[in-house]
């Protein structure tokens, strides 16, 4: 007699992950048979189709609430929204790579991106320590390869730096997980909520190590130093991918941990350092931006600050805060990817190809592209009428409402600092003085235009129709 350990519903919950993972295999296979001059399009098309199919399947499970695999993967509004964000960002990065990437490695890159995507999607739904680590490593391993793609010294430096530092962070996390397992006797996050667990010193040590690892993956201060170097060295589409997908995955894990895995009394003490770190990220990220002349580094520091805002939204521990964090994450996805797309179209693969000077006078050479970039930077700075503006209002409101007014104040100060950095780029684009470092804009593929338009529309529409998912809780079962 055979008994099925897992039901059909369990497998249905992770179908989108499998679709993405299998698409990667199909892409590699198809590359063997496709003609030389068309393989680029075949890989791209298959990859985007696979992501699209996963997005559709994923969207259909919206509204369900199911703990698959004995609580290892929890399907719910929260998971679906994060999976969709990850799929969107992955699709966008693929299109960007198709528009500007090199011809020969296309299939491999697409496959790696897809595997990384499925890892991040696993993190979005992971509700026990094993699945969290599985998703994290799947994502990280893909990224180690992707970072070193470009034929530049900085690319190799970036890949090595990311490999070593990220492995160390994974080690921290794994050690923390082992201690947590020791404290609760279970890998399930829900087992940590028992009041007796908090009495164990292992719990506190384990949480500390686990959170240190997560903070690294989120690139929050003081574990943020890797981000600018790695962002600078990696190929631009990969940077765009990392800036959203890694953060979304890590944020999903952190939110689940903060909301659902802590004994009620312990949460306030345990998470206070994280809120402080989030506040520090707003300041350090925005201050760091001021000195940058490379736009990828600038956006890396911007990302450090932006993730600080998002984490700050969770400070109250309310379901509203979680919804606003998701709102801001979606907004960040659109505005950040949009900005990266414009940068990708205006820079070269050479060393320092993405210097701010490359955008000099863009407003007169390519007015539409410059207008789009201006819009995205305004959104990142929190200017209306963009989702960045409304997202900040939400976070301010939730912080004030839940007694974290100091975080709201830090957000305001950080935003004020960031203004100069964003507007420096805007001003360079509309500067008439001639510059010798100007790079010719690449021809833009229609798909890249389409994704730019989607980002623009997303940022604008979200301002006037601010939808946030209402069924984000509960996060574990």
């Amino acid at each position: 007699m055979t008994t099925n350990l897992y039901s059909q519903a369990d497998w249905a919950a992770v179908t989108p992950l499998f679709v993405v993972g299998i698409t990667a295999l199909v892409v590699l296979l198809a590359d063997l048979f496709a003609k030389r001059h068309s393989n680029r399009y075949v890989s791209l098309l298959l990859g985007v189709l696979g992501l699209g199919a996963a997005a559709v399947i994923c969207a259909q499970s919206y509204g369900q609430n199911y703990a698959a695999f004995g609580g290892g993967f929890v399907l719910g509004g929260f998971t679906v929204v994060f999976e969709e964000i990850i799929l969107l960002a992955a699709g966008f990065s693929l299109v960007l790579y198709g528009a500007i990437g090199s011809e020969e490695r296309m299939a491999g890159v697409v496959a790696l991106m897809l595997w990384g995507t499925s890892g991040a999607m696993l993190m979005a739904g992971a509700a026990n320590l094993m699945t969290i680590f599985l998703g994290l490593e799947l994502l990280s391993l893909a990224l180690y390869c992707l970072c070193g793609l470009a034929a530049r010294a900085t690319a190799r430096e970036a890949a090595l730096k990311y490999l070593i530092l990220s492995s160390a962070a994974s080690g921290f996390m794994l050690y923390g997980m082992a201690l947590l397992f020791g404290a609760s006797g279970s890998v399930a996050l829900s087992a940590l909520t028992a009041a007796s667990v908090a009495a164990s010193p292992f719990f506190w040590m384990g949480c500390g190590l686990f959170l240190v690892g997560l903070t690294f993956k989120l690139s929050l201060v003081p574990f943020h130093v890797w981000a600018p170097d790695v962002y600078e060295g990696a190929p631009l589409p990969v940077t765009a991918f990392m800036s959203v997908v890694t953060k979304a995955g890590a944020l999903a894990v952190f939110a689940r941990f903060a909301y659902a895995a802590l004994p009620s009394g312990a949460a306030a003490h345990l998470l206070l350092p994280i809120w402080i770190v989030a506040g520090a990220s707003m300041l350090v990220g925005n201050l760091g931006m001021l000195a940058q002349t490379d736009i990828k580094r600038l956006l890396a520091y911007s990302g450090i600050a932006q993730i600080g805002y998002i984490v700050a939204a969770l400070a109250g521990g309310t379901s509203q805060g979680l919804r606003y964090a998701i709102y801001y994450l979606v907004a960040y996805t659109f505005m950040n990817l949009g900005a990266f797309a414009v940068v990708a179209l205006c820079s070269t693969d050479k060393e320092e190809g993405s210097h701010v000077a490359a955008l000099h006078g863009l407003g007169y050479r390519r007015p539409a592209l410059a207008a789009a970039m201006t819009f995205f930077l305004l959104a990142l700075a929190g200017f209306p009428p963009t989702a960045g503006f409304l997202g900040k209002v939400f976070i301010l409101a939730t912080n004030v409402g839940s007694g974290y007014a100091w975080l709201a104040a830090l957000l305001i100060i950080g935003t004020a600092i960031s203004l100069y950095a964003y507007f420096k780029v805007i001003r360079a684009m509309y500067d008439r003085a001639p510059s010798h470092r100007v790079v010719d804009v690449r021809p833009v593929a229609p798909l890249a235009w389409l994704s730019l338009a989607i980002c623009l529309a997303g940022v604008l529409v979200m301002t006037f129709y601010p939808l946030t998912p209402s069924n984000v809780l509960p996060l574990v079962k």
Binding site: P384, P385, A408, I412
Partner: protein, 462 residues
């Protein structure tokens, strides 16, 4: 339809960027047409067309709610008029872009002054910075002016945003402007008021937050600075009257001495600083600082007459400062200088220019029979009635100094001996004259018959 007042200029301004950049005439015709249509819309908008669309229901309710009632109507009218005059007379390089920015500025400011929702107010408050920043970046003389303008005002905007979010959380709704509502209570109320007050003081501006202002006014091309000084600088005062007064009157009363002192310092400092300038635009800029300080004192006197005077003076100052900046712009275009050291005796060859300049300057120094006097006398009456004797005395000093600096400006540029090497250029053209005429006519009309405005505003202040 109130919403058209906002949407029409913004859409038209955005589309104008697509027009051929070399076609000055087309840009100007489109700009004038849009500004004129907006002006007539503004006239007919009164009392009609309450526009509401639900925006947020969580974490507090907010709506895109716009209406032109109360003082909004008069400021909207002023804005539409000033924009029309500015576009009509505009003679700036890269005309298309400049006119497009002017229209965008008009639309954004329409949003500020017609918004009945605090969040929508904050949205347009930030939005109205952008056209001025781009104008400073594109046409300004010095690089750092644009930064100073943006950073000061965005800091104010962020304080406003935080205060708005806190207000929404405390009150449950931000759709409150112009509605009879209970004032804000609780321990947070003074802090929320402080956030609003900071934003309003930066925008007005008031000493010591004024340092961005003289440079901005000097560097922005004249047509835009006419609109900015006439209307944008009133956003802060409007905020005090429409938002702080109904919802934070307790905090305002508690802090009134502080604000009156700030207003008095602005009043005196602006007046004496104007006396020391040689740049014509800076003279007017510092005189604005002085005049707006007087309005701040009037608002914080909590007296019905003073408040009415403040409203009259808001309109009057808008009219004469727009006229002054426009006419200084004409002088600068002709003589390529606005320094009193260089100019002189322009009146002999340019009677029309001299006439316009004189009327505007005399209105600014408060000559009876022109609009400035009507505002000043009502304010002083109210301030004295409220028992604020020493601020009234300070104001008297400043008014005397105002006569000195305005006559010095007039004397230095228009009258006096002709400067030998100053080329004699043609007098005001028909278009330029047409652009000045409505402003000057309004100055005279309100000055001769202030009842036009006071009777309409009496209803508002009740």
């Amino acid at each position: 339809m109130t919403i058209l007042l906002i949407v029409l200029p913004i859409v038209a301004g955005s589309l104008l960027f697509l027009a051929p950049s070399g076609d000055k005439v087309l840009s100007k015709v489109v700009g004038c047409a849009v500004a004129a249509v907006t002006f007539f819309e503004a006239i007919f908008a009164r009392g009609g067309g309450d526009f509401t669309v639900r925006w947020l229901s969580r974490p507090f309710t907010a709506a895109f709610h716009f209406n032109t009632d109360g003082i909004s109507f008069w400021i909207v009218l002023l804005l539409a008029l000033c924009t029309f005059c500015a576009v009509l007379a505009c003679n700036v390089p890269r005309t298309r872009n400049f006119i497009a920015l002017l229209l965008l500025l008009e639309g954004a400011m329409m949003g500020v002054f017609t918004a009945k929702d605090l969040l929508a107010f904050a949205l347009f408050w930030d939005l109205m910075l952008l056209p001025v920043f781009f104008a400073l970046a594109g046409w300004g003389e010095r690089r750092d002016t644009a930064w100073r303008y943006l950073i000061y005002n965005f800091a104010g905007g962020l304080a406003l945003l935080l205060a708005t979010a806190a207000f929404g959380m405390a009150y449950g709704s931000t759709d409150v402007i112009g509605q009879a509502a209970h004032p804000l209570a609780g321990t947070w109320a003074p802090w929320i008021f402080a956030g609003f007050a900071f934003a309003f003081l930066v925008k007005t501006p008031v000493w010591p937050l004024h340092t961005w202002m003289p440079a901005t006014y000097a560097d922005t091309p004249s047509p835009m600075v006419a609109v900015v000084s006439a209307v944008q600088s009133k956003a802060g005062l409007y905020g005090f009257i429409a938002i702080a007064l109904p919802f934070a009157s307790a905090s305002m009363h508690d802090a009134s001495a502080f604000f009156i002192v700030l207003g008095s310092i602005s009043l005196l400092y602006g007046a004496f600083a104007a006396l020391a300038q040689t740049d014509a635009k800076r003279i007017v800029a510092y005189s604005s600082l002085s005049h707006l300080g007087l309005i701040l004192i009037a608002i914080f006197s909590f007296n019905a007459i003073a408040l009415q005077g403040a409203l009259v003076y808001i309109i009057a100052h808008g009219l004469f400062s727009a006229a002054l900046f426009l006419v200084i712009g004409y002088v600068e275009e002709r003589e390529e200088s606005r320094s009193l050291a260089r100019l002189g005796g322009l009146g002999k060859a340019n009677p029309r220019l001299a006439g316009a300049f004189t009327i505007a300057a005399l209105a600014a120094l408060g000559l009876p029979g022109l609009a400035g006097f009507a505002g000043e006398i009502v304010i002083l009456t109210g301030v004295v009635q409220a028992g604020n004797i020493w601020p009234a005395l300070v104001a008297l000093v400043a008014i005397v100094v105002a006569a000195a600096y305005m006559l010095r400006l007039l004397q230095g540029a228009i009258n006096g001996p002709q400067v030998a090497d100053l080329p004699v250029r043609r007098d005001l053209t028909l278009l330029e004259g047409l652009a000045m005429a409505p402003l000057l006519a309004a100055l005279v009309a309100i000055g001769v018959n202030p009842h036009l405005l006071t009777s309409a505003l009496a209803m508002v202040t009740k």
